[in-house]
């Protein structure tokens, strides 16, 4: 798809902001890397060659009997007994760089949990003996994915709601605005905690609850932009051509308002991630076994004698937030028509 000259200029401007552009590149590579977390931190080999055949334990579960063991259950590759079994025939394996899944409890570690950094665990373990590095990797992925989906859904609802209010104005606008004011006046976390205590939150229920409060963020900007756009002569001209209201809204008004909404999206993403972390920290977030940054911070608070927990959680969050803020600034400047060059 060819970009319009307007977007080419914006892209050029975005790339011109070096801090923002580099933040974007770093963030995207971190995100892409975390999508392949199973290949980076796992307690199963990526490829296993055993007795002339190839196995892919990271994707497929093989019972221990495959390798001459006794159990019908999935092979535990870290078990010394399994290692012994594999050693009996000609075999080799490619392991991920971190040999722990986020849920793996390392019983072999010499130091008691939470253990400080050693040669087995680069960032140490948490108070249940799980590798912190692996948990951060998976936690980052969950946070960003959750944030992206949440931002996407809220932005979609917010932009459409804002456009409808701004374009039609009058009573529609009046009622929507009051609803938003009511929503805004309820403390966000209290509302979430109340709902989360009534239903057991999973990934999608939590998502639904958070969309309920997050969609209002974009409404105001988009609404204001639409109020402005609907009085432009090109909207009048479209009405004079006999174009239907819904078409005018989607073809003439929304694309212009969308840009205004776009500048806010990195900020909304930021708020989404922070909110999820806060909920996890308070224990009302994702199910307890999920790897999450909020849970890591909570462990840090509970284990003050193990500063590596708090530090690694804090640094990860700080990096994500800073990168997103820098990207947000660059996006805002690139879309700002008043800034030349």
């Amino acid at each position: 798809m060819a970009l319009s000259p307007l977007w080419q200029r914006r892209l050029h401007k975005f790339k011109g902001n070096r801090r923002g552009y580099w933040s974007f590149l770093v963030f995207m590579s971190l995100f892409v890397v975390s999508l392949f977390a199973e290949l980076l931190a796992n307690d199963k080999p990526i490829v296993l060659h055993y007795d002339g055949a190839y196995y892919f334990p990271a994707w497929k579960a093989y019972p221990e009997t495959t390798f001459g063991g006794d159990l019908e259950t999935e092979t535990v590759y870290t078990d010394p007994f399994v290692a012994e079994l594999l050693g009996k025939k000609e075999s080799w394996a490619i392991w991920p760089p971190i040999r722990f899944h986020y849920s793996t409890i390392d019983f072999e570690n010499t130091a008691p949990a939470p253990a400080p950094s050693n040669e087995r665990h680069f960032l140490g373990t948490d108070d249940q003996g799980r590798d912190v590095m692996a948990r951060i990797l998976y936690g980052f992925r969950v946070s960003v994915l959750f944030g992206l989906v949440l931002t996407g859904i809220s932005a979609l609802i917010g932009i459409v709601a804002g456009a409808v209010q701004g374009y039609y104005g009058g009573w529609v606008d009046m009622i929507f605005q009051r609803v938003i004011e009511v929503l805004n006046s309820i403390p966000f976390l209290v509302l979430l905690i109340t709902i989360a205590s009534m239903v057991t939150p999973g990934f999608w229920t939590l998502m639904a609850i958070m969309v309920f409060v997050m969609w209002v963020y974009l409404v105001d900007v988009v609404r204001a932009e639409c109020l402005k756009t609907r009085n432009q002569d090109y909207v009048r001209a479209a009405r004079a051509l006999g174009v239907k209201d819904s078409k005018i809204l989607f073809r003439h008004v929304l694309p212009n308002a969308f840009v205004a909404g776009l500048t806010l999206i990195p900020i909304v993403l930021n708020i989404s991630i922070t909110s999820l972390t806060a909920l996890d920290f308070l224990g009302f977030g994702l199910p307890p076994e999920t790897a999450s940054l909020g849970e890591l911070l909570k462990q840090g608070k509970d284990n003050v004698h193990a500063p590596w927990l708090l530090m690694s959680g804090f640094v990860t969050l700080a990096v994500i937030m800073s990168l997103l803020v820098f990207i947000g600034e660059a996006v805002r400047d690139a879309l700002d028509p008043r800034k030349a060059g």
Binding site: S4, P5, L6, H12, Y234, R236, A237, R239, A340
Partner: protein, 534 residues
């Protein structure tokens, strides 16, 4: 020695795709007490020259060449420090700008804004003395009525009054040189004449010099001693005002003078049907938002108007801003709410709802004033023109529509390749052609033209008028031509309607109105537009 002596001035702007050279090697002198006009179309660099004198350009994006010299009273201004420049700005050399609506700070009182430069340049000035000086300045600019309202805010004043306040601010420290950048462009014709008279009077009284920047040749003719014509960043001709208007030398000047709107409407066929008429047409806006519905008050913008437009003719609607002329145009097309009857070829438009209006939209089209806001910046020219075709099902396939679009673009004087480009790549005149193409592609019968030439340069105006005249002849179109510019109206209209405060002041055949106006208001409009002297 000249008061202002600009030698070999060049101004360039840094940009992505190389630098733009806005002004090249311009030399000009302004003697003491002289009114010099710098004339040119938009983009000719005339404002850039004016801004260079007080160095108000966005440095360092803008920069001057090494040979550039600007001497004021023998003192070199380029390269002065900010502090030194400040002692000249608003003190010895003042400036007034085009847009009186935005040039004043909306949050400060008139007194504060006028006295600001007094306090800035007169050390130890006492408040009582400042008040006396401000009152004197208000008298000078003809605003005696504000003597006891020094705390008035800008929004309480009309456009003309605000421009007078701007002049008072500029005059505060009795400057030797006043730079006026399009001082009357944003004002109504009758107010324009008043402001020009005021400037001329002040100049004669104080003996200051004026450097007048304008695109409007009428203004120049009325007050300037000498005229410099600029084109593409260079001065192409310098002459005494009388000489220039009598015998222009440079081809560009000749073209400028020749493009003053001229000619008359095409002769009408005898006995034509009425295309459109109204009876008691009213448009009102809510003027407050009361808690109780019966406290609602209205502001009537168009008051019980009855008009008749014969088929194939042009009705020119003339009036100053706020007279309701644009509202009338929108109401006729049912683009805003109105009361009263609108008849179109025997049909009652006012009784049709949105859906019932839709099939008729093909015949009733509109072209707006501002070529920049009337085209969606995110659509290509092709998409813009195609939109109406799709709505009305003209051209069954994409290929068919493309042929229609190409023909239309050709007809308005653009090449077919334009359809792949975006509006911002075109000049104002070209954009207006696109707007006209968007309306004309539906082959309408009735076209509302809402100030279609006001935002355009003179030479482009003439082209657009010719284009509209051609279309009328070719397709027998009926026009409602709305404009504040009487010269354009005269060139295109069969009948003229003069509006003021939503009412008809006078209407009749064009020749009758212009040759023998019956009302004082019409007379003042005509004299402001056509008189050669103040």
């Amino acid at each position: 020695m000249a008061l202002l002596d600009i030698k070999n001035l060049s101004v360039s702007f840094k940009g992505h795709q190389g630098d733009t050279h806005a002004v090249r090697d311009v030399s000009l002198q302004v003697a003491k007490g002289e009114i010099v006009a710098l004339v040119g179309e938009s983009g000719s660099g005339k404002s850039t020259v004016a801004m260079s004198v007080l160095q108000l350009l966005p440095y360092p994006t803008a920069y001057h060449s090494a040979e550039s010299r600007i001497a004021y009273n023998g003192q070199e201004l380029l390269g002065l420090s900010d502090a030194e420049l400040r002692s000249i700005r608003g003190n010895r050399v003042s400036m007034i700008f085009q847009e009186p609506m935005t040039a004043l700070n909306p949050l400060h009182t008139i007194f504060k804004q006028i006295s600001e430069s007094l306090f800035q340049h007169q050390a130890g000035l006492r408040r009582e003395d400042a008040i006396a000086q401000v009152r004197q300045l208000l008298t000078d600019v003809g605003l005696e009525k504000l003597h006891n309202r020094l705390n008035a805010m800008p929004h309480e004043l009309s456009g003309g009054e605000r421009q007078r306040v701007m002049i008072a601010i500029a005059m505060a420290n009795k400057p030797d040189l006043l730079i006026a950048d399009e001082p009357t462009t944003a004002l109504d014709v009758t107010v324009q004449a008043q402001i020009l008279r005021l400037l001329k009077g002040l100049q004669q009284k104080t003996g200051m010099a004026i450097l007048l920047i304008t695109h409007d040749l009428t203004t120049v003719r009325k007050i300037a001693d000498r005229v410099l014509v600029m084109q593409h960043g260079e001065i192409v001709e310098t002459a005494k005002t009388a000489t220039l208007f009598k015998s222009p030398k440079h081809p560009y000047t000749q073209k400028l003078l020749a493009s003053e709107p001229s000619g008359a409407a095409l002769p009408l066929k005898k006995k034509t049907k009425t295309a459109l008429s109204t009876k008691e047409l009213r448009v009102k806006y809510k003027s407050n938002a009361p808690l109780l519905p019966w406290n609602q008050t209205y502001n009537e913008v168009v008051k019980r108007l009855g008009i008749t437009i014969p088929e194939g003719s042009t009705l020119g609607v003339v009036g100053e801003s706020g007279s309701g002329k644009s509202t009338l145009g929108l109401a006729l097309l049912r683009l805003i709410k109105s009361e009263g009857e609108i008849h179109y070829h025997g049909e009652r438009l006012d009784q049709r709802n949105t859906a019932a209006m839709r099939p008729l939209r093909r015949e009733l089209q509109v072209v707006f004033q501002d070529p920049f806001s009337s085209l969606n910046p995110r659509m290509t020219v092709g998409q813009i023109i195609e939109e109406g075709l799709k709505v009305h099902g003209i051209g069954a396939t994409e290929a068919e529509r493309e042929v229609i679009i190409d023909d239309m673009l050709h007809e308005v004087g653009l090449d077919a390749a334009s359809k792949h480009r975006y509006p911002h790549e075109f000049s104002g005149g070209q954009r207006q052609r696109i707007s006209i193409a968007r309306a004309m592609v539906l082959k309408p019968k009735f076209l509302v033209l809402d100030e279609p030439t006001s935002a355009l340069d003179l030479s482009v105006q003439a082209q657009i008028i010719d284009l509209l005249r051609d279309f009328q002849q070719k397709y027998g179109l009926t026009y409602l031509f709305i404009s504040h510019d009487l010269r354009v109206v005269k060139a295109l209209s069969h009948k003229v309607l003069v509006m003021r405060h939503g009412e008809i002041v006078e209407q009749g055949d064009t020749a009758a109105i212009f040759d023998a106006p019956q009302q004082d208001y019409t007379r003042s409009l005509i004299s402001a537009a056509f008189a050669e002297k103040l």
